[in-house]
Structure formats: C-alpha cells, structure tokens
C-alpha cells in the first residue's frame, strides 16, 4: 500500500535519472548474457573436442592423420571402421559388454530394490549401520575387491568368465544402487503401503503392487547408473578377464597403451563408436542422470 504512494511523490528529475540508469543496466545485462553464453559455449566445446578430434583422426587418410600442425582438408575415409569391424574382435566384445552390463543391472535391481526399501522403512540401528557400510564401500579402492576376487576366481576356476565378472560388478555397484534407491523409496509416503496392508495386503504384496510401480523413475535412474558403471569399469575386467569375458574398455585400453601408430586410427574409430551411444544416452536420459547424481547430495 505504501509503495505506490512513495513512487508518486518522487520528484521529476529523480525519475529521469532512474530511466537513464535503467537503460545502462539493460546494456550491461545484455553484455552479461553474451559473456555467459560465450563462456558456456567454450566449456561445452572443451567437453566434446577430444571426441571430435578422435572422429577426425579416424576418418583422415593415414598420411594426414598424424602430422603436426594438423591437416584440415582431406577426403574422409572409412577404412579404419571397416578394419575395426572385420579384422578385430570389436563386435564380439561389444556384444559381450552389453550382455554383462544388462545382467548386472537386472541382478543389482532385483537385490538392491528390496534391500533399499527395507532400509528406507525400518530405522532400526541395524539398517543405519548397513547404510553406513554401503557408503564406506562406495569409497573403497577397486583393488580391495579386485585382488581377492582374482584369488577366488583362480581357486574356483571361474577366472575369465562372464559369471565372475558380473558377480564382481554387482558387488562393486550394489552400495551405490542401494543408496540411490533408498533415497527414492524414502520419498514415498508410508501411508501408501499402510493403506494397502489395512486392505489385507501382505508387506511384500504392498511393496510389489503399490511401491514398486511408483518407484519407476527411481528404478530407471538406478538402472541407467548401474549400466553406465558396468560399461565404464576398467580395473575389475582388466584383473578378472583375459579373452572370453573381456569388455570394450579393456579392449580399447589395451590398444591405446600399445605404441603402434598404425593401430591408432582403429582405436580412434572404436572410441567414437563406443562414445556415440553413450553421448546419446546423456542427452535422452539427462533427467535421470541429473537426479541420480544430485540425489545423494540433496536428499541424503
């Protein structure tokens, strides 16, 4: 009520200065917007430049690919991709990577969802300790898992099998899955399953029919993260596999360390082929990736 009246009694000259300063503020704001967009564009370019460079390297003729300063005009070639597909085990190992990742996701969710649900509902001190344990395990170096698993795998004769690799990946990713799902379950009101139980549902039936359908986005987020982690993992497959169960990360890395220039274009092609679907995922599943990454920090 008092605000408009003070504006009214403002003397004329003051209003004029207010007008001129507001246009200069406007100009400054426009400059600020330009700077912000320039900054963001630069950062975005820096994020993807290595992949663009790998793409260029993979399609340049061999004589143009490895010279400094770089050659900018050339006729694109797909020879590296043909060689990658037909002359190496890329396709076979790629298929194996997907199979391993999908099975890891299924087992992680099947085990993780009930565990996370229980943790979100019972606040007994055991649940709390389990949660802290899950957090601590999320922090442990991979070697703590990889070296003992290597010994076990040798002893049980399951070294270099998909089963061994999946068991290890589930063990490593489980704490994160449980932690993430617990936060999603904790947000669903208790009254939901209490109502179901009053209507005669068992505790498990209430979880299955009431909670699980509502937790869809949470399960999808946890699934995407487990899938990405399984594909990204390097140390576990490098220690636990040799030939049969090996994954693309290990395959590409083993080429990358080799110091043979003639192989570099094939590695570049493999990197590009692996990166494209993952980049697509980052765009189409952005909402879930963002909620998964911030979930632990904000809701925890």
């Amino acid at each position: 009520m008092s605000a408009p009246s003070t504006v009214k009694i403002r003397p004329q000259p003051r209003r004029l200065t207010a007008v001129t300063s507001s246009t200069s503020v406007g100009r400054r704001r426009r400059w600020k917007t330009v700077l912000i967009y320039a900054g963001l564009s630069l950062a975005a370019l820096a994020s993807v430049l290595p992949f663009i460079w790998a793409l260029l390297t993979s399609v340049k003729p061999y004589t143009d690919a490895f010279v400094s300063p770089p050659v900018w005009t050339f006729t694109p070639q797909v020879g590296a991709y043909e060689e990658l597909w037909y002359a190496t085990r890329f396709a076979e190992i790629g298929l194996n990577t997907i199979v391993v990742a999908v099975i890891t996701v299924i087992i992680s969710l099947a085990v993780g969802a009930p565990a996370a649900y229980a943790l979100s509902r019972y606040d007994s001190s055991i649940a709390l300790w389990l949660l802290i344990l899950a957090l601590v395990f999320r922090a442990l170096p991979r070697f703590v898992v990889a070296l003992p698993f290597y010994t076990i795998a040798q002893a049980l004769n399951i070294y270099d099998t998909q089963m061994m690799l999946i068991i290890a990946l589930v063990a490593v990713n489980q704490p994160f899955t449980i932690w993430l799902l617990r936060n999603f379950f904790a947000e669903l009101p208790r009254q939901l399953e209490e109502a179901a139980q009053i209507d005669g549902c068992s505790r498990f039936a209430a979880f299955r029919h009431v909670i699980l359908p509502l937790a869809g986005p949470g399960l999808l987020t946890a699934g995407i993260f487990t899938f990405l982690l399984a594909i990204q993992e390097y140390l576990i497959p490098v220690v636990l596999t040799q030939q049969n169960a090996t994954t693309l990360s290990v395959f590409i890395a083993s080429f990358g360390i080799a110091e043979d220039t003639s192989l570099y274009q094939i590695i570049a092609a493999a990197s590009v082929l692996l990166a494209i679907p993952i980049i697509a995922l980052a765009f189409f599943a952005q909402r879930f990736i963002v909620s998964g990454l911030t979930g632990g920090a904000i809701k925890g």
Binding site: I36, L40, F66, F143, V145, A155, L235, I252, I289, L293
Partner: protein, 272 residues
C-alpha cells in the same frame, strides 16, 4: 550381498599380514609388509603425488563447477539442458576412453592441438615426459572428466539459496563478489563439502586415467597409490601381501576423510 563386499575386505586385511603370491598358501609375516611399505621411497613418492593430485583436482573441480553452475543458472531452461548435455559427455564416457582421447589433444603425434594454441604464450612442454607437465595434464584431465558432477550438485544447490538474502544484499549495496562470498558460498557449504568428500575419495583411488595417459608412471613421477598397487601385485612383481598392505593403508586414509560425512549422515538419520 554383504558377504560379497565384506569377504574381499577381510581377505585383504588377512593378506596384508602374509608373504603371499597367487596360488601360494602364504606365510605369516606380521607387520613386515607394513614396515617395508612405510619405509619404501617409492610408496612415499606415490602417496605424495596422490595427495598433490587430489588437492589440485578437488580445488579445480570446485572452481570450474561453481563458475559453470552460476552461468547455467542464469540462462533459459532449454539452453541450460542443451549445455548440460554437452558438459555431461566427459563424465558418462568410460574413463579409460575419455583419458585416451583427451590426451591426444596434447600429443604431437596426433597434431598437438593444445601446444599449437599455446605457442603464442611460449608454453609448449612435452606433456608426457616432463614430470611437472605430466602431473598438470592428469589434474586437467580429472577436472575435464569430473567437473560435471560438481556442476550438477552446485546448480541444484544454487536453486536453494534464499532469493531474499541476495536481494537484501543488493539493496545494501554489496558488490557481486561480496554477495557470492558472504551469502551464496556460506549457504552452500554442505554441498561444497560433499563435492570435496567425493572428490577426495575418487582422487585417492585414481588408476584408470594414469594408466592411459602416462603408462610408464613411475618414470615421470605420476605413480599413484593404486598404480603402485597394480605394479606390485600384477605388474613387475606378484607380491599380493605387500599390495594388500598398501590397500589397507589407502583404506585407512579414505576412512579418515569419511568420518565427518558418516557422522553427519548419522545425525540426520537420528533426527529424521
């Protein structure tokens, strides 16, 4: 499930007290692995480099993450999700592949793009053989690789900063820097601590990127604790006991950093 996680840990601690290699019953040696590790110059060098690396990339990620989050917070939602999608790319691609293609920008064999751009500044080191340049390169890679996490957390945090306090500061004539430093940063302290914690945990177990960017890490002083473990356990020697002891020491270091976080979670759970 818990057995899958605790089993390996128990085995690690047990092996730490043994002189053992693969398929060998092992022999109890007490604390010998620990005394030889803690007096080993190479271990101390690895611990020193790992600490330096962790500190550098944690500070770097927070600065880059904060700047990016502020900029993203100022643009329209459509533009925000477009830029975010691109900024997420280094984070979701497998570390080993990201590290490989990132290092190519610094590699003369691949055209030496970075050195070409830096030539006018008179700074064009050999990134893979000069020890300080190699260290810098690894820190730069880590910032490139993991800044997206800091960006996302800080972007979410920025949206929780009370608007009234920023407006009140503007009315009181606070400069932009003062507003950031006195109001925005303090209200995000918990988030900054969370990023630092995750970053420290990741820093102490860095392995993948070093293996790709500087394969001969021990010759350029970029051998981290985990690369050292790899070399001891699977590379040059097969001393599982010694490697386990180094693992236990690394776990202890990480646990020390985790204590405040666990305590905070504990208190939140008790009040919830």
């Amino acid at each position: 499930m818990t057995a899958l996680m605790i089993g390996p840990l128990v085995l690690t601690v047990y092996n730490g007290f043994q002189r053992v290699s693969y398929g060998d019953p092992g022999q109890f040696v007490g604390l010998a692995n620990y005394t030889s590790t803690l007096t080993d110059a190479r271990f101390l060098a690895a611990a020193g480099f790992t600490t330096l690396y962790t500190a550098g990339m944690t500070v770097g990620k927070i600065i880059v993450g904060y700047a990016m989050a502020l900029m993203l917070n100022a643009v329209r939602p459509k533009a925000r999700s477009f830029f975010l999608g691109l900024l997420l790319v280094p984070y979701v691609v497998p570390t080993v592949i990201g590290a490989l293609v990132f290092s190519w920008l610094f590699n003369d064999t691949f055209g030496g793009l970075v050195n070409l751009l830096m030539q006018p500044l008179g700074f064009a080191p050999d990134w893979f053989t000069d020890p300080s340049a190699a260290k810098l390169l690894l820190v730069l890679h880590s910032i490139w690789h993991e800044a997206a996490f800091a960006i996302l957390v800080l972007l979410a945090a920025l949206q929780g900063v009370p608007r009234e306090r920023i407006e009140a500061a503007a009315i009181d004539g606070a400069s932009w820097w003062q507003t950031q430093w006195r109001i925005v940063v303090p209200s995000m302290r918990g988030f900054l601590a969370f990023i630092a914690l995750i970053s420290i945990m990741d820093g102490f177990r860095v392995f993948d990127s070093i293996r790709m960017i500087t394969p001969a890490a021990s010759t350029v002083g970029t051998e981290s604790l985990m690369v050292y473990v790899y070399n001891v356990a699977l590379g040059e020697t097969q001393q599982l006991g010694l490697a386990s002891a180094i693992n236990v020491i690394t776990i202890v270091i990480i646990l020390i950093f985790l204590v405040p976080f666990v305590r905070q979670t504990w208190q939140e759970m008790k009040t919830a």
